[in-house]
Amino acid sequence: MSRTFKDKLRSKDFLITAEICPPKGTELGEALADAKLIRGFADALNVTDNQRAVMRMSPLAMSKTLLDEGHEVIMQLTCRDRNRLALQSDLLGAYAMGIRNVCVMTGDHTTKGDHPRAKPVYDLDSVQLLGMIKRMKEGYDLAGNKTGHLPDLVVGAVTNTDPLKAGQMMKMRKKVKAGVDFMQTQAVYDITQFEAFMEYADDIDVPVIAGLIPLRSANMALFMNNNIPGIHVPDETIYRMEKAEKPIEEGICICAEAIRELKKMCRGIHIMPVGNHVNTIDILEMAGTGKRNK
């Protein structure tokens, strides 16, 4: 039997996770093809949950489909669309269907997505959700009723990586206290800042998986700096993208260089490309992490 994501978390492996976005509709073909591109390269696939508050197929349905195709999945779960009843029932459903990894987060506000009139829920925040999952793993629902244990559930959370943001860092520590098995980060471009974050978080005994979004153009970098919270693309990187004759290839190079650096600092990387994974294997091979999993 092949090793699970949980086994790999406990090993010394450098982990590779990658993002798969469920379809806006019922056709699964494109998402499954995207997952197939990186089969054997990624240790687990994060399945997003109405990412950026844009309505898409349920991550539970997408995760189960990927599982049936033989992929290991990390189902993302936000606090935006579900109250504590719905969060628990989705977690029980996911576990019963064989999903063993989840990653929880607050979730972008409904007003930022394609249904701005939707009622934002936020019945629990991400720290409270982690606390609830801890209790569920012990065999109880939030009300204290017996529900059966979820012993193998691996639970992750997300964090920003600017060590100077006191509020963000305090919240990251609360997540660790509430119980997490791994942390995935917002996209990292500023390696110096990430190194400072890892030094800051040196006392935290949780594997950190650094997020990466391969750049496609200088404009994309500028857009992210101005519009995506927690992302900082340094000026010299933007300059490289501006000068590049083939910006997509340059973005692949920059990403691969980042992986080589990050390999020395943290436990893994999480690739979240804009669009699909058509360049992901090139990036991994260029970074020397392209070996196929057994």
Partner: protein, 209 residues
């Protein structure tokens, strides 16, 4: 203070389209302070309704529309209310509801009720308190995240703020940024470290059946 604002006059006229012999009830509490239900606004409303062909039989401004004891107490203040076929209440939703509860005359609101807020140094500040029934605002330096953060986050900021501004309303400072700096100023950063679990866990409600 209950924060309410005046409906557009055209909307009020539409509400009262089939009504006449109107009695106006203001409110000398929050609505008066916010200039949407005090004497100047009530007399202005009377004039505007009359200009638009409505008969206004009278008006009264109780000390608080939400504490009107009975229809008789309104009659005592202005007996003209007996002739009314419709009542326009210039108060918050509570005031409208209390007055609708003491009479069978149809009651119409002139205001939209928004939140529990306040007014300080001439500025109206909405959404200060979520009225959750379990006040913990002292843990947050007097800035309630349940009332003021669009995600009601108790354990710290979301990842959505940019340059200290709120993800939802970029004109506003992130509530958690404000809480952090307030607690720092107070020398009580320790309060930020409290982990807020779900009420069921906080209260140790565990029935173990």
């Amino acid at each position: 203070m209950i924060i309410s604002s005046a409906k557009p006059f055209e909307e009020i006229l539409k509400l009262l389209k089939d009504e006449d012999d109107i009695f106006i009830i203001g409110c000398n509490a929050c609505a008066a302070k916010l200039h949407v239900g005090g004497e100047p606004e009530v007399t202005m409303m009377q004039q505007r309704l009359e200009v638009n062909g409505k008969n206004v039989v009278g008006w009264v401004i109780p000390s608080a529309a939400c504490s009107v004891a009975s229809f008789d107490s309104l009659v005592e203040k202005n007996p003209a209310i007996r002739e009314a076929k419709a009542i326009l209440v210039m108060a918050c939703g509570s005031g409208v509801s209390i007055i609708a509860g003491v009479t069978d005359i149809p009651v119409y609101p002139s205001n939209n009720t928004e939140s529990l807020g306040g007014r300080s140094q001439g500025e109206v500040i909405p959404r200060l308190c979520a009225m959750c029934g379990d006040c913990t605002v002292y843990y947050f330096g007097g800035i309630c995240p349940k009332g003021q953060c669009p995600k009601q986050l108790l354990n710290g900021p979301c990842g959505g703020s940019m340059e200290g501004k709120c993800e939802v309303d970029t004109d506003k400072d992130c509530v958690w940024d404000r809480i952090c700096s307030r607690l720092e100023k107070m020398g009580r950063q320790d309060l930020m470290e409290k982990v807020w679990l779900a009420e069921e866990i906080e209260g140790q409600i565990l029935c173990r059946n």
